[in-house]
């Protein structure tokens, strides 16, 4: 009995110290001088642009990674080939490699003198522009949908799909009517994680974006810039917006989890 309470106390204490107090501090600091200053910072043209850009990253990366992720999971689980272990390992790369390194590698590839620098010369600016930031966001958030979908696909097995095919359904009909509805919670969970990752991405995006205010700044970059320019209130305000977005995604995740358990 006492050991259980001890464990609870330890767990809660650890979480409070490391997660809750720092987050509460942001909240407190933001509104230290009333709601005016942080609101001004967040609604400044640069702040609003950063928020829009962050949402744009989500709007592009999440659908692409979802389509790729589901397709890749189907390949890994349903079509066993000799290449699969290799593909499986490569998909985990974004988890293993530091985002800064990812940013640098993109810079080396698309930047001045890089192999693909001709694309920039043709007029589509990649580095220090939105396309490069999208590439970085896709890179860092690529594994989530695959990782969440693979176990669900394995668990549902192939019987339902086989049954559908004996009933006359072709591959496409089977996918839309049987496979996708069966894995939907796994995919949704992956989407939520992808969204959270893209919203919070800093390292890779910093390098390829150049963090130009009002142009290539996402919310995390905006926070960092405000902080570096000694505008703490602005940094806190934007942080709070980020934290709120994260909370919304976490809340969505919890809802999905509950639905999955039911």
């Amino acid at each position: 009995m006492s050991s259980r309470w001890g464990l609870r106390f330890l767990g809660l204490g650890y979480l409070t110290l490391l997660l809750l107090i720092p987050l509460a501090m942001i909240f407190y600091k933001t509104f230290e001088d009333g709601i005016g200053p942080p609101l001004d910072a967040v609604t400044s043209p640069d702040g609003l642009h950063a928020l829009k850009l962050s949402l744009l990253m989500v709007a592009i990366s999440v659908p692409l990674n979802t389509i790729f992720g589901v397709g890749c999971a189907l390949l890994l689980v349903r079509h066993k080939t000799k290449l699969n272990p290799g593909i499986d390992a490569v998909i985990n790369l974004p988890f293993a490699v530091s985002p800064v390194v990812i940013g640098l590698s993109l810079y080396l590839l698309y930047g001045v003198g890089g192999w693909f620098s001709f694309i920039g010369e043709e007029g589509l600016k990649i580095v220090f522009a939105v396309p490069g930031m999208v590439l970085a966001s896709i890179f860092v958030s690529l594994p989530f949908v695959v990782r969440e979908t693979v176990p669900v696909l394995q668990e549902i097995g192939t019987d339902q799909e086989r049954a559908a095919s004996t009933l006359g359904a072709n591959g496409w009909q089977t996918f839309w009517k049987i496979t996708l509805p069966s894995i939907r919670w796994g995919v949704a969970y992956g989407i939520v994680l992808t969204t959270a990752r893209v919203l919070g991405e800093f390292g890779a995006v910093t390098i390829v974006s150049g963090s130009i205010s009002g142009q290539t700044q996402t919310l995390p970059l905006f926070v960092e810039k405000q902080y570096a320019n000694f505008n703490s209130t602005g940094a806190y305000g934007a942080s709070l917006v980020l934290a709120l977005l994260a909370l919304i995604t976490l809340f969505a995740m919890n809802l999905l989890k509950r639905k999955e358990d039911a």
């Binding site: 086989r162 049954a163 095919s165 009933l167 006359g168 509805p181 069966s182």
Partner: protein, 345 residues
């Protein structure tokens, strides 16, 4: 007409799942593929359905070459051991699935689905989800779903394997009756010989990827082609080179020149039937099937000595000239030593 498979071969890595298998299933019949797990029976069934590609061989369904045709175009109804219910759909939508794929009109679908739900005795459950049904109900729903598209053949892969004994027996009878009504050519895979004999008119016994024997239940029981069929279809004791059915083992209390001594180890009463387990002097364990009345007449008890007299035995030992393959020999007419039975001590 019906279904025929010729020279089917299928290999999974180093495992030969089907080894030159040929079967002939008459139109409108109810045939059981019987065999232990790993015998290739399910692979054969899936190959007929188009769910598995053969390495070589020919599948013909109702006179039409179906080899290489995708499952969706073969017109087969398939029922899986674990139901394969579409979990995210109601019973209605499960049964209607094949009809919606075929773009039937809404009213016709509704009419057909309700007909089928009546047929499988699930009326009123149309709005339930599979998770709200019992195993037996789920399997009947799966059967209705397979029948909805009016398949040319119905294939059932261990359909009652996941159900408990009572439900299983009910469903067997029910399936037999259903087949009598519908007359759709049906193949049914099972590892349970009693189930196969109970339901099917024709049995195909498989082992290690090959067909051992096919025929009616009586045929297989009375004239097994080999040792495997004899021991798989029905119970059997082995006495040297001879195989004796437990009900062909006579238990007596006094010895004579044809009997063997045994120690009664265990007496198990299974309702009307009594199972007497004995150990012979050479350590062979055998059992005899007696009726309750016989047991009472003998006043047999555990740990006592009794004598066994095989009434009828079979030998598949080709090297013995006096006992041709599959010959049925009343042992009484032979002297014990020659018949390969260890002499009584």
């Amino acid at each position: 007409m019906g279904i025929s498979v010729e020279g089917a071969n299928k290999r999974f890595g180093g495992f030969q799942a089907l080894d030159d298998v040929s079967i002939e299933v008459p139109d409108g019949s109810l045939t059981a593929l019987l065999g232990p797990s790993g015998s290739g029976k399910s692979t054969l069934l899936r190959a007929i359905a188009g769910l598995e590609d053969l390495d070589s061989g020919l599948v013909t369904i109702n006179g039409e070459n179906a080899t290489g045709k995708p499952a969706q175009k073969r017109g087969v109804g398939f029922v899986f051991q674990h139901y394969a219910a579409f979990k995210h759909m109601t019973v209605y939508d499960n049964v209607a699935f094949g009809l919606k794929i075929r773009r039937w009109e809404r009213e016709k679908i509704s009419q057909r689905v309700h007909e089928l739900l009546d047929l499988v005795q699930l009326p009123g459950l149309a709005d339930r989800y599979p998770s709200q049904l019992s195993g037996g109900q789920r399997q009947r729903m799966a059967l209705a779903r397979a029948l909805a598209v009016e398949p040319q053949v119905l294939l059932l892969d261990e359909p009652f394997g996941a159900l408990d004994a009572k439900v299983r027996k009910d469903l067997r009878t029910w399936l037999r009756n259903l087949h009598e009504e519908m007359h759709v050519t049906t193949i049914f895979v099972t590892h349970d010989q009693e189930e196969a004999m109970d339901v099917a008119g024709q049995l195909v016994v498989m082992n290690e990827g090959r067909v051992e024997q096919s025929g009616s239940a009586d045929d297989l029981y009375e004239h097994p082609a080999n040792e495997f069929v004899m021991s798989f279809v029905g119970e059997v004791n082995r006495l040297g080179d001879h195989f004796v059915r437990p009900h062909d083992m006579e238990v007596v209390l006094d010895r004579d020149e044809r009997s063997q001594e045994g120690l009664v180890q265990r007496i198990v009463t299974l309702g009307f039937e009594v199972r007497v387990e004995l150990v012979l002097s050479d350590g062979t364990e055998v059992w005899a099937q007696l009726t309750r009345a016989e047991l009472q007449r003998l006043e047999l008890r555990e740990s006592q000595i009794a004598y066994l007299r095989p009434v009828q035995a079979k030998s598949f030992n080709g090297s013995s000239p006096s006992l041709p393959d599959g010959a049925s020999t009343p042992l009484g007419s032979r002297d014990g030593g020659d018949a390969g039975l260890p002499a009584a001590v």
